[in-house]
């Protein structure tokens, strides 16, 4: 199963990737998650560096010009009784993997050949995506229409091949800096519905898309879509610059929306499980 992350410049891809890496580490260390991840050494080095920079109170540098690919794997714990689990061999436990790729999409028309030329290779994987994670900068809703056409065209193209099997995940990045005026116009509070309130979140997210990303919202309207709201808490450093806030909390040493990230990882696991059962 393939999952792709797409976002235009400034949408927070580097921070998102670093926080996703942090969440992967956190989730893999939860005893009952059955979750593991791996990547090629270059990607590990790149993502590990971004993660360490945030831990050190710095913003990670954007270095995703090269191909970034990593593997998430979930091992289902639901294999029967405790006794059965004891006797089942490691390799026989139901597992499935998701290959992730991060794409750098230029802020231009993505519908035609210009897209191919601008984004380089690996597009075949993008078009085969089962899950498409779209990053939207929630601090700049007013500029949403500038990228709406491009993103809409991209999703339309992927949807042509995948049909209703395509599962988009809309990630609103920089939620700590959300465009409050924009939300006010829609009569939405800055606090989205809780992570378990899937329907409430869908209504909330769809409203934002309808107003600021109408083409994208329209194209995904008949697809099962999840909405994620990401933020990272900041504080001022000695020079008055806003930097990621550090924590010495043992389980979660960064102040970021871990629950949102974990919710996304669990959702991906659920999709993978279904996909596995269908034998795809």
């Amino acid at each position: 199963m393939y999952a792709s992350i797409v976002g235009v410049e400034g949408s927070g891809r580097t921070v998102f990737a670093s926080l996703l890496y942090a969440a992967q580490i956190g989730y893999s260390q939860e005893k009952k998650s059955g979750f593991r991840f791996s990547s090629n050494p270059r990607t590990q080095s790149l993502m590990g560096e971004g993660y360490n920079m945030i831990r050190g109170g710095m913003w990670p540098e954007s270095k995703f010009s090269e191909k970034v690919s990593f593997l998430l794997s979930y091992q289902s714990m639901d294999v029967g009784s405790r006794m059965k689990r004891m006797f089942i061999k490691e390799k026989e436990k139901p597992k499935f993997s998701i290959q992730f790729n991060i794409f750098d999409l230029p802020d231009t028309d993505l519908g035609g050949s210009r897209h191919q030329a601008a984004s380089g290779d690996g597009l075949d994987i993008l078009y085969r995506s089962d899950v498409l994670i779209i990053l939207l900068d929630s601090s700049r809703f007013k500029d949403g229409k500038d990228v709406d056409s491009s993103l809409g065209s991209l999703v339309e193209r992927i949807k042509r091949g995948k049909g209703e099997r395509l599962k988009p995940v809309i990630v609103f990045t920089k939620w700590d800096n959300v465009d409050e005026k924009g939300l006010k116009k829609l009569k939405l509070s800055t606090e989205p519905p809780g992570i378990n309130d899937t329907q409430g979140r869908s209504r909330y997210g769809r409203k934002i898309l309808a107003k600021f990303y109408p083409k994208l919202g329209n194209i995904i309207s008949n697809l099962e879509t999840r909405y994620i709201f990401i933020h990272i808490e900041v504080e001022k450093d000695e020079w008055g610059e806003k930097v990621p806030k550090a924590s010495i909390d043992i389980d979660n040493e960064l102040f970021y929306s871990y629950d949102e990230m974990r919710g996304m990882l669990r959702y991906l696991g659920d999709i993978g499980k279904l996909d596995n059962k269908k034998g795809r």
């Binding site: 593991r36 791996s38 090629n40 050494p41 590990g48 050190g56 924590s247």
Partner: protein, 327 residues
């Protein structure tokens, strides 16, 4: 079977080797172990290790000269073969062990590497990564190792976020994770599942230097769980790993996704009791009789741990013959 000992600069490799040498001597000479364990090294390496050991025995820290040493530090462990899992402690009858075909010893060839972050980056930055012909032989040996001993300088554990020490620690964590990812990628190409099984050993060096407050913050007692209580030791060590070396721990688990198992990590805590040496003006190794006062139990556990690995992994015939000829 090849064993690589890796550690960052100044992580305590030299002292570790000196103490391991001391433990090897004590372990071999212990009548309980009889002929069960032997070790050997080329003469110049044996002399070098002996020198490190002697420095410790006179209450001095051995010189940190592994990098500058003209040749690779390597030595051989040999474990007397047993008759299978049911009779692990039963040595082979002498009429069998005397035969060449019985290969009486399972062997482990240890090599010590000075691995800094830039060395790992050099490999992954080459256009073909680990497939590149530009990779030095030493790095290839490392990638081929079946046992990886990672030395973690426990003195560098820092809970003070954003401090220089903290950044150094988390960057070392990242480099270890990159190395594990590299080794997993390299070994994933092998078809034999046995060749895709890697045994990691994490050695916390200078463990006596970890501030009590750091352990208390994690809810850990000052005293280590007993060597025999493997479960408690693993939990103790993984609490530290989850807090300070979480990338390494996550990548050890993740190796399985590439078909390379790193799952059975063992943990060793090395420490030397020290006392203030007024002549030199710093803490020096404390003596216990005419031997250095160190965590022998941990080193004995280290040697014992490798017995199981040596028994599990079939030797290359050449290795066994090699060992025979060295005796």
């Amino acid at each position: 079977m090849a064993v690589s000992v890796m550690g960052d600069r100044a992580c305590g490799k030299t002292t570790f080797i000196g103490l391991l040498y001391a433990a090897q001597i004590e372990y071999t000479n212990n009548l309980v172990n009889k002929e069960a364990f032997k070790f050997t090294a080329d003469p110049h390496i044996a002399a070098y290790m002996g020198e490190m050991y002697n420095q410790l025995r006179i209450g001095r820290w051995p010189d940190a000269t592994i990098k500058g040493h003209s040749s690779k530090i390597s030595f051989l462990f040999g474990y007397k073969r047993t008759m299978g899992k049911a009779a692990q402690k039963m040595p082979l009858p002498s009429w069998i062990s005397r035969r060449k075909w019985a290969k009486p010893y399972s062997t482990l060839q240890f090599c010590v590497y000075d691995v800094a972050g830039e060395d790992v980056q050099d490999i992954i930055r080459t256009p073909d990564g680990y497939l590149s012909e530009e990779i030095p032989d030493e790095a290839k040996d490392l990638l081929e190792s079946r046992v990886l001993v990672f030395l973690i300088d426990a003195q560098k554990i820092s809970a003070k976020v954003r401090s220089k020490a903290y950044m150094k620690m988390i960057n070392y964590d990242k480099e270890m994770a990159t190395l594990i990812s590299l080794i997993a990628s390299y070994n994933s190409k092998k078809t034999d599942p046995l060749q895709r099984k890697i045994y990691p050993v994490i050695v916390f060096t200078k463990f006596d230097m970890v501030p009590r407050s750091t352990l208390q913050d994690m809810g850990l007692p000052d005293t280590l769980p007993k060597v025999k209580d493997q479960k408690a030791r693993r939990e103790y060590a993984e609490t530290i790993m989850r807090r300070f070396y979480r990338q390494t721990l996550a990548y050890l688990k993740g190796g399985a996704l590439k078909g390379v198992s790193f799952d059975e990590a063992a943990y060793i805590f090395s420490s030397v009791n020290t006392e203030f040496d007024e002549e030199q003006g710093f803490e020096s190794p404390k003596m216990k009789g005419d031997e250095v006062d160190y965590s022998y139990g941990e080193y004995a556990a280290f040697i014992t741990h490798f017995r199981r690995i040596a028994n599990e992994m079939p030797d290359e015939i050449k290795e066994a013959q090699d060992f025979d000829t060295k005796w």
